[in-house]
C-alpha cells in the first residue's frame, strides 16, 4: 500500500483530534475542578511541561529512526515486551474511546433521545466506525482533516459568541486553591495532553519523518491554545464549576450563545459538529488499536480487526451501569491510565532503550 503514510499537517490534526474529543465531554470541568480559578495559569504551566515532554520524546525517538514504541520495546526486551507494550496500548485506546463514547452518548441521551436505550445510541457510532475502519489509515486522516476545521471553528465561535457573557474577574484569585494545588497536584491536568500517545506510534506513519520535531511541538502548541480556549470559556462563563457538575460543559456553554433573536439555541449545530468529532476520534483510536494489534501479531490482513476493535469498544462502553460510574471511570481511572501508560511507562521504555543503545554503542566502540 503506497498511500498509507500521512502528511505533517495530518499528523498534527490527528493529535489535536484526540484532545478535542476529550474536551467535548468532561475534560474542561475535570480540569476546572482540579485547579479552580488558577486554571489558566495551570494550563500554561502544564502546556510548557507537555512541550518539554514532547521534545524529550522526540529526542529519545530520534535515535531510532522510523521505529515506533513497539519496535523499540522489541529492541529493548524482545518479543515479550513488544507484546506487553502493544497490549497496553490497545487497552489504552479501547478503554479510552469506550469510556469517552459512553459519556458522550449519555449526554446525547439526556438531550435528545430520552426514550432510547443507550445501547442503540452507542451502536450507531460503532457501526459508523466499523465501516470506516475498513478503509486505509490515510483516508481516515483525510476525513479528519475535512472535519477538524469545523470542530475548531465551533470552539472559536463558542468563545466569541459567549464573550458578552464573560466575566474576566473569574480568573482571580490567580493561584486558585494555592501554590501547591496549582503547580504540584495540578500537574494531573497534563492528562489533557493524552494525545501524546500518538507520538509514540507516529514515526513509521509519516511521509516526512524529518519533520517529527515540528509535529511534536506544534501539535502540543495548537492543543494548548485549544484547551486554553475551552477552559477559559467555561471558566469565564460559569461561576459554579466546583458546585455543580455538568454532563457536557461545552454544550451548556453553547446553549448560552445568542446572535440576535433569530440565532438562539445553536447548540444543536454544535452537537452535530461534535458528533462528527467523536466519530473521528473513535475511528482514529480504533485504527491505532488495529495498527498495534497488527504489529504485535505480525498480521498482514486487518479487515476482520476492523470489526473486532469496535466491538471491544462497544463492550467497554457498556460496562458502566450508570452515568456516575462512567464519569468516575473517565475522571479518575482513565486519568491514571493516561498518566501511567503515556507519561511513565512510555517514557521509561524510551529512556531504557536509549541507555541500551548507548551501552551497545559503547561496546562497539571499545571493540
Amino acid at each position: 500500500m503506497p498511500d498509507t503514510k500521512i502528511t505533517t499537517k495530518e499528523a498534527i490534526m490527528m493529535f489535536v483530534t484526540v484532545i478535542v474529543s476529550h474536551t467535548i465531554v468532561s475534560l474542561p470541568s475535570t480540569i476546572l475542578q482540579n485547579t479552580k480559578s488558577a486554571t489558566i495559569l495551570n494550563i500554561i504551566y502544564v502546556s510548557i511541561l507537555a512541550l518539554i515532554f514532547a521534545y524529550l520524546v522526540y529526542v529519545l525517538l530520534k535515535n531510532f529512526g522510523g521505529k515506533d514504541i513497539m519496535d523499540i520495546a522489541d529492541y529493548l526486551g524482545g518479543r515479550t515486551l513488544k507484546i506487553i507494550v502493544g497490549t497496553v496500548l490497545i487497552t489504552y485506546f479501547v478503554t479510552g474511546s469506550g469510556i469517552l463514547l459512553r459519556n458522550f452518548c449519555e449526554g446525547l441521551k439526556i438531550i435528545y433521545f430520552s426514550n432510547t436505550n443507550i445501547v442503540f445510541i452507542i451502536l450507531v457510532f460503532i457501526i459508523a466506525i466499523c465501516i470506516t475502519n475498513t478503509f486505509e489509515f490515510s483516508s481516515n486522516m483525510k476525513a479528519i482533516s475535512i472535519f477538524l476545521p469545523f470542530v475548531i471553528a465551533s470552539v472559536v465561535l463558542l468563545f466569541i459568541g459567549n464573550i458578552q457573557n464573560f466575566s474576566l474577574q473569574r480568573m482571580f484569585p490567580i493561584l486558585g486553591e494555592g501554590f501547591v494545588n496549582t503547580f504540584i497536584t495540578g500537574l494531573g491536568n497534563i492528562v489533557a495532553f493524552g494525545g501524546i500517545s500518538c507520538l509514540y506510534l507516529l514515526p513509521p506513519l509519516l511521509k516526512e519523518p524529518e519533520k517529527f520535531k515540528k509535529i511534536a511541538l506544534s501539535s502540543i502548541g495548537f492543543s494548548a491554545v485549544y484547551i486554553l480556549l475551552c477552559t477559559s470559556t467555561i471558566l469565564f462563563m460559569f461561576p459554579f464549576f466546583f458546585n455543580v457538575d455538568e454532563a457536557l460543559p461545552l454544550y451548556t456553554a453553547a446553549s448560552y450563545i445568542e446572535f440576535g433573536s433569530f440565532f438562539q439555541r445553536l447548540d444543536a449545530i454544535f452537537l452535530l459538529i461534535w458528533m462528527l468529532e467523536i466519530c473521528c476520534y473513535l475511528s482514529l483510536a480504533s485504527q491505532f488499536a488495529i495498527l498495534s494489534f497488527k504489529k504485535i501479531a505480525n498480521l498482514r490482513i486487518s479487515k476482520p480487526l476492523a470489526f473486532v476493535i469496535p466491538l471491544l469498544i462497544f463492550a467497554v462502553s457498556l460496562l458502566p451501569k450508570t452515568f456516575a460510574d462512567s464519569r468516575f471511570l473517565e475522571d479518575v481511572i482513565y486519568k491514571y491510565i493516561i498518566i501511567v501508560v503515556i507519561f511513565i511507562l512510555g517514557f521509561l521504555l524510551l529512556v531504557l532503550a536509549n541507555l541500551k543503545r548507548k551501552v551497545k554503542e559503547g561496546l562497539n566502540l571499545k571493540k
Binding site: 459508523a128 465501516i131 475535512i146 439555541r265 444543536a268 462528527l276
Partner: protein, 535 residues
C-alpha cells in the same frame, strides 16, 4: 471448388485474422461472402482494369455507399487508375539503375525491381491518406469507417484509402454547458472533428492523440489526448493500460466508457469529468490532465477528476475574480443544500425543534396543522414527485414540454398545499433543494447528490442530527477512500490542506502560477511569478 475453399477460409478466419490473398478472385469471393453483398445493399464492389506501366491488372474497390465521398473517389482513385495518362502508360523497359560499381572490368549494377504496390502508392494514387494493409481485418475496419479499399491482382496487400464523406452534425453551440463569456463551440459525434477542435485551441505540437480501438464488434475509435510535455507519463500509461484492456463487445457512449475505466462505481460519485466544451477540455489538458474522446460521443472525458472539479465552471476563468469566487461559493452552497437540506429539515422538525426560532416554529406548526402524513412521508411524497417532474420533463416530446411545467408547478405545488396534503414550508424546502441541484455544473455530480439526499432524509428522520452526523461522517470517509486514477478524490477539500493550483478559491489571474499538483505534471508552473511583464 473455389467456393468451398473460401468457405473453409471463412470458417477459420472468424477467430484469427486472414491475410490478403495474392489472387484477386479469392479476395473478391472472400469479401463478397464477408460482407454478404448479395443482401447488403449499401456495400459496393466495383471491379475494373488497372493500367500500370502499360500493363493491365484486374482490380476492384470496396466501399460502403453513404460513407464515402463519391467525387473524391471518382477523381482521385478511379480516374488516375483507369484513364490513360502519362503515368500509367509509361513503359520503362530498362530497369532503373540505383548504383553502379565497376570492379575488375565487371560492372555491377544494382537495379530497382518493379514493385507494383510501391508504384501504385507513390505514382498512381494522388490521395493524401493511403495505407497499405496486409490483413482483411484492418481493411474492413477502414471500410466500415468510411474508407475505400483497393485490391489489385497479384498483390498480397490491399490499400486503405481515405475518402470519408458522410453526413454529420456540424459544430454547434453547447447545449448543456452554457457559459456567458467564452467560446460557443461544442464537441460533435465525429472523432476527427473533435480532435481538430482540440488542436485548434491548443495549437501546439506537444498535443498527442493516441488512437485506441475499444469494442470487439464496434471497434469504436478512441483518442487518448495529452500534452506530452506536461502530462505525467505514469498517469498516461495507466489510462492507456485501462483503455487497452477492456473486453467489451461494444462501446457506444462516453458514459459507458466512464464507468468502464473508473476504479469503483460503488458510491455512484462521478470520478471522471465529462464535458462537451472543447475549451474546457483544452484547459484541463494544459493543466497536465488526460482527455479521452471517442467516436460517436459528443463528450470528452477528462481524467483524473477530484471532487472540487465538479463544482467548477469554465465561466470561472472568464469572469473577474470576485464574481468568479462568488458564483463558485454559491455552487458550493448549492451542493451542500442539495445533499443536506431536506435531511436537516426533517431532523430539525422531528428532533431539534428548539433550534428553530419561535416564530418559524409556529409557522411550521401552523402549516402542518392539516397535513395528515408524518413528516417523512410528506417529504418523500414531494421529493419523489419532484424527481418525477424532472424525469418526465426530460423524456417528454418537446411540443408538450410546457405541459409538464404547468402540471408540475400548479397541480402539485399549489393544489397539494390547498388540499392540505403537504405544507407550504415543505414545498419551499423541496423547491430550494431542486433548484440547488441544478446549480451544480456537472450533471452527474448533481445527480449523485440528489440521489444521496434520500439517504440523509432517512437518517435525519431516524435519529435527527445524530443520524445526519453519522451519515456525513461515513459519506465523507467513503469519498476520502475513493481515488480517481490514483488521485485522492477529496484532494483540496479540506480547509487546512493547501494544494497548489486547486482549492475553493480561485486566485487572481496573475497568481495562477501552478498546475494542479495532485496530477504531478512534468512542468509544475504554468506562468512566471510575474506574468504581466508590461507593468
Amino acid at each position: 471448388m473455389k467456393i468451398q475453399k473460401i468457405g473453409a477460409i471463412l470458417d477459420t478466419s472468424n477467430k484469427e485474422s486472414t491475410k490478403i490473398f495474392p489472387s484477386i478472385d479469392v479476395n473478391l469471393e472472400y469479401v463478397k461472402s464477408k460482407y454478404n453483398t448479395l443482401v447488403n445493399s449499401d456495400v459496393v464492389l466495383r471491379e475494373f482494369i488497372l493500367n500500370a506501366r502499360g500493363k493491365q491488372y484486374k482490380a476492384f474497390i470496396l466501399y460502403i455507399d453513404g460513407l464515402v465521398n463519391s467525387d473524391m473517389m471518382n477523381n482521385y482513385i478511379l480516374k488516375p487508375l483507369m484513364m490513360r495518362n502519362r503515368n500509367n502508360l509509361f513503359d520503362d523497359k530498362q530497369n532503373r539503375i540505383i548504383s553502379e560499381a565497376v570492379a575488375n572490368n565487371v560492372t555491377v549494377r544494382k537495379v530497382k525491381k518493379f514493385d507494383l504496390a510501391d508504384y501504385l502508392k507513390s505514382c498512381l494514387i494522388p490521395q493524401n491518406s493511403l495505407k497499405e494493409k496486409q490483413e482483411f481485418k484492418d481493411i474492413f475496419s477502414g471500410v466500415n469507417s468510411g474508407n475505400c479499399a483497393l485490391f489489385v491482382d497479384t498483390l498480397p496487400v490491399a490499400f486503405d484509402i481515405e475518402v470519408k464523406g458522410f453526413k454529420q452534425r456540424s459544430v454547434e453551440k453547447p447545449s448543456n454547458e452554457i457559459v456567458v463569456k467564452g467560446p460557443h463551440e461544442a464537441f460533435v459525434e465525429n472523432l476527427r472533428t473533435n480532435s481538430s477542435l482540440l488542436r485548434r485551441i491548443i495549437n501546439n505540437e506537444n498535443l498527442t492523440m493516441e488512437n485506441i480501438e475499444i469494442g470487439n464488434i464496434t471497434k469504436t475509435k478512441c483518442a487518448l489526448c495529452f500534452m506530452s510535455n506536461l502530462a505525467n507519463p505514469d498517469l498516461v500509461a495507466e489510462i492507456r493500460y485501462r483503455l487497452n484492456n477492456l473486453d467489451v463487445d461494444s462501446l457506444l457512449s462516453a458514459g459507458q466508457l466512464e464507468q468502464l475505466i473508473t476504479d469503483t462505481n460503488d458510491l455512484s460519485v462521478p470520478q471522471v469529468l465529462s464535458t462537451e466544451r472543447p475549451d474546457k477540455a483544452a484547459s484541463y489538458l494544459l493543466e497536465g490532465r488526460v482527455c479521452v474522446i471517442l467516436n460517436g460521443a459528443p463528450y470528452a472525458l477528462i481524467l483524473p477528476a477530484v471532487m472540487i472539479d465538479f463544482l467548477k465552471s469554465p465561466d470561472d476563468r472568464n469572469l473577474k475574480v470576485p464574481f468568479a469566487n462568488f458564483i463558485r461559493g454559491i455552487r458550493f452552497l448549492a451542493a451542500a443544500i442539495t445533499l443536506l437540506l431536506p435531511g436537516l429539515y426533517v431532523a430539525i422538525s422531528s428532533f431539534h425543534q428548539e433550534f428553530l426560532p419561535t416564530e418559524l416554529l409556529f409557522s411550521i406548526l401552523a402549516s402542518r396543522e392539516t397535513v395528515p402524513f408524518p413528516l417523512i412521508v410528506e417529504i418523500l411524497i414531494m421529493e419523489i414527485s419532484f424527481e418525477l417532474i424532472r424525469e418526465a420533463g426530460l423524456r417528454v416530446p418537446s411540443p408538450i414540454g410546457p405541459t409538464i411545467g404547468i402540471v408540475g408547478g400548479i397541480v402539485l405545488g399549489q393544489a397539494a398545499v390547498s388540499a392540505g396534503i403537504v405544507s407550504p414550508i415543505l414545498i419551499i424546502v423541496v423547491a430550494i433543494t431542486g433548484i440547488s441541484s441544478f446549480a451544480i455544473p456537472d450533471y452527474s455530480f448533481g445527480f449523485h447528490l440528489r440521489f444521496y439526499r434520500f439517504l440523509f432524509i432517512f437518517l435525519g428522520s431516524m435519529a435527527g442530527f445524530l443520524g445526519i452526523a453519522i451519515g456525513l461522517f461515513v459519506y465523507i470517509s467513503l469519498l476520502c477512500n475513493t481515488k480517481s486514477f490514483g488521485v485522492p478524490y477529496t484532494t483540496s477539500l479540506s480547509f487546512l490542506e493547501k494544494v497548489k493550483g486547486s482549492g475553493y478559491i480561485l486566485p487572481p489571474i496573475w497568481k495562477r502560477e501552478y498546475r494542479n499538483s495532485f496530477v504531478n505534471p512534468k512542468e509544475p508552473k504554468k506562468q512566471d511569478n510575474i506574468s504581466m511583464k508590461w507593468r
